[in-house]
């Protein structure tokens, strides 16, 4: 199992952002993590990436415990956050070179060149982050995640700021990485994207997992049978809203 989460719980003072969350993502699987604002998706992803320390629970990346053996776990993990967080004094190439050094990526220059071409960043190699648009900065963050052979990829709203061409390319890239054997957990509010690329969906609300399965499995669930067959309809039903988005 590439990614395994057991009874994950994360609190901020008295507030519980993620409560008793358990799931697994197998190699080659793309799992969509969806939920309303404040459902705990980003907290979950940040806890899985090692940015937030879980209050309790277990996270394993390729059998390596994220708390017990953080270096081994992090070496196999790539996290692409929704907000591009770059060092404002490093150029695009230097970001990739730094990542290459810290993760021990062989042949970093060749990989970087290929990846920058794939993400349409060719010509921006010597640009600093403040010379790039938000979409391009997002692509640099994604390049930093993809330049190494991570077995588990975590995407938090990966399409934010990308243009239509970038969105299409990113979809292709995500699917291609899964086909190559990576386990992918993708958080997004774009339900059509999730429905299109994900093999399975986890729906969260108020810190808890309220649904887990393929779209077809969810649609066939007895309590959701009336909701309809597409993810949007299922989502509204599961989170207690009607199709107009009004809380029931």
């Amino acid at each position: 199992m590439a990614l395994s989460v057991e009874h994950l719980r994360r609190t901020y003072g008295a507030f519980t952002a993620v409560d008793d969350l358990s799931f697994e993502v197998r190699a080659g699987e793309i799992v969509g993590l969806i939920g309303p604002n404040g459902a705990g998706k980003t907290t979950t992803l940040r806890s899985l990436a090692g940015i937030l320390k879980p209050t309790s629970g277990l996270v394993r990346i390729d059998t390596h415990d994220l708390t017990g053996a953080p270096l081994e776990a992090k070496r196999r993990l790539a996290f692409m956050p929704d907000e591009p967080h770059l060092f404002e004094y490093l150029t695009v190439t230097e970001h990739l070179r730094l990542i290459g050094r810290l993760y021990g990526v062989p042949d970093i220059d060749r990989r970087s060149t290929a990846l920058l071409g794939e993400l349409e960043l060719t010509g921006k190699e010597t640009a600093l982050p403040n010379e790039l648009s938000r979409g391009m900065r997002q692509k640099v963050v994604i390049a930093c995640g993809l330049v190494r052979d991570a077995t588990t990829l975590l995407f938090d709203e990966p399409l934010t700021g990308l243009d239509p061409i970038g969105i299409r390319r990113m979809r292709t890239t995500i699917v291609a990485r899964a086909r190559d054997g990576a386990a992918i957990l993708l958080s997004s509010h774009l339900l059509h994207l999730v429905e299109e690329v994900c093999t399975r969906v986890i729906i969260m609300d108020r810190g808890r997992k309220i649904a887990d399965g393929t779209v077809a499995e969810l649609a066939s669930r007895a309590d959701l049978a009336e909701a309809g067959s597409n993810l949007e309809q299922i989502f509204f039903r599961v989170t207690g809203h009607d199709t107009a988005g009004t809380a029931r």
Partner: protein, 575 residues
Amino acid sequence: MIGASLYIIACSTRNRVRRWVKRLGEPRYLVAALAGAAYFFFVLNTQLRVRSGAQQPLSRRASRSLAEQFPAFALGGAAVAGLAVLAVAAGSWLFPGTGTLLDFTRAEVQFLFPAPVSRRQLIVHRMMRSQVGLLFGPLVFAVLVPFGSNPARIRMAITLWILLFSARTYFSGIALARARLASREARKRQLARLPLMLVLGALASVAWPLGRALLGEPIVDANDALARVAAVSAQGLPRIALWPFVALASPLFAADWAPFLRSLPQALMVLLAAVAWVFLNDQAFDDITREIADEQRDRPPRRKAAYRARKVGWTLAPKGRAEPAFAWKAVLQTLRIVQVRILVRLGIFVGWMAMVASISSRGISASLAVFAMIVVAMSTLTGPLILRIDLRQDLQHLEVLKTWPVRAAELVRGEMLWPAALLSAIVWSMTGLALYLSTAVFSSTSLALRASAAAAVCLVAPALIAAQLAIHNAAALMFPAWVSLGGWRARGVDAVGQRLIVVGGTTLLVALAAAPGALLGGIIWFAFNRFIGPLVLVPAGAVCAAVIGVEVLLVTEALGPAYERLDVTAIERTE
């Protein structure tokens, strides 16, 4: 708009106070607030005791006004201050910012720019908003300044407020005028250029007679220098040219209320002129606010420095330990932020040093040697506190750092490597310079002793620097909410307390860390001094440095749990 501005000011002040009070619920903030309050109480109590006559000799000295405290100022203080204001006024054309009055927050850009509010009203709003900060600074200064009677302090606060408000308005005027310089209409460009011409004209008309007066005959003392400046500024063209600048500063030097009230209207007139100039230039506001809005869009929440992609001649090797990778990152950060502004400031400082050295009675060699020794001491003792190109700055990137497969010890050592190397290089070069020129200062000391002492300094100083950096970085990991990130600085009583605790704690810990090394070094000195003479300082220094070095390594290795415990919420709460 004035009502809306007052509403914004009232709401944000109330919310800030609420947040501050809520923050005090956490023990570390409460302890810091108590420490800060104790500091202010101590300072105020001392001031009050001094003023009430508890310590008579000091009281007499301290209760006098600025002019009475320093008699020379009564003569030429206003003129010198006016000259300084003129220099700043001219210099700010060379290095302009947008002016903090035009430094709109993201929320202001988002809510007020699209609102049906005139440009002038927006400027008035910013002027009103800036008053809290403008009033606070002079008040604190007037309370804490160690001299002057109560009325003198009130006068000082009022004058400083006028000075600061005028400066802020003037800087914004420059930003607007510079925007108009790009106008296609020649008349607008001419009008925008006019204030610059006036300031440069004033500078030129003062510089020549002043230079002649100061350089003509040797200066006897400070009173003599001030008298000459006063004489130049009191007659002819320099008097007219300096008038607005002297008018702004002169209330500061009034010995009593009567002269103060006589000089106040003139200062207020200059302030009003600056405000009027900004209002007249509000046509350029559209251009500059567009620029501000663009900057705001691209700018991260905290203000950050601007970098330029310069080649630095160091390509990171694809393989190797993590520490040099962090040092490489920090080198790029340092070299890419170097700006002309910094070089000019450095040039001014070096020029000033050269001037001091040339007029010093010690002679140039001795002055430079003393200067070099001061730099060595400052770099070793305060350099690690000031040079924050380490985890203290990188905590704002914690979200990225935490995802990297790097051990905490490697991370901390890597973050420390570049500032330690930079400060050590400064110490070594300045120690070398001091040794080279040391004959001029320590003529009776043997070369062997001077060279040995210099070598010992070169060995011990890097260890002390590393020890302080280790303490600062350890504190950043263990008390992240106390670290000022990047350009952001915490404010308030608790922030003052935090700084006092950090500085005090660091000093104590450095002393403790240095003690075993100093003890061993002392034993070596005692045992071998009679055999090898002053040369003993070298092995003693080496042993001392080695002991501190081992301690630093142990400290960095022990930081693993603190790093693993640390998460971004501890940082975010400080924003």
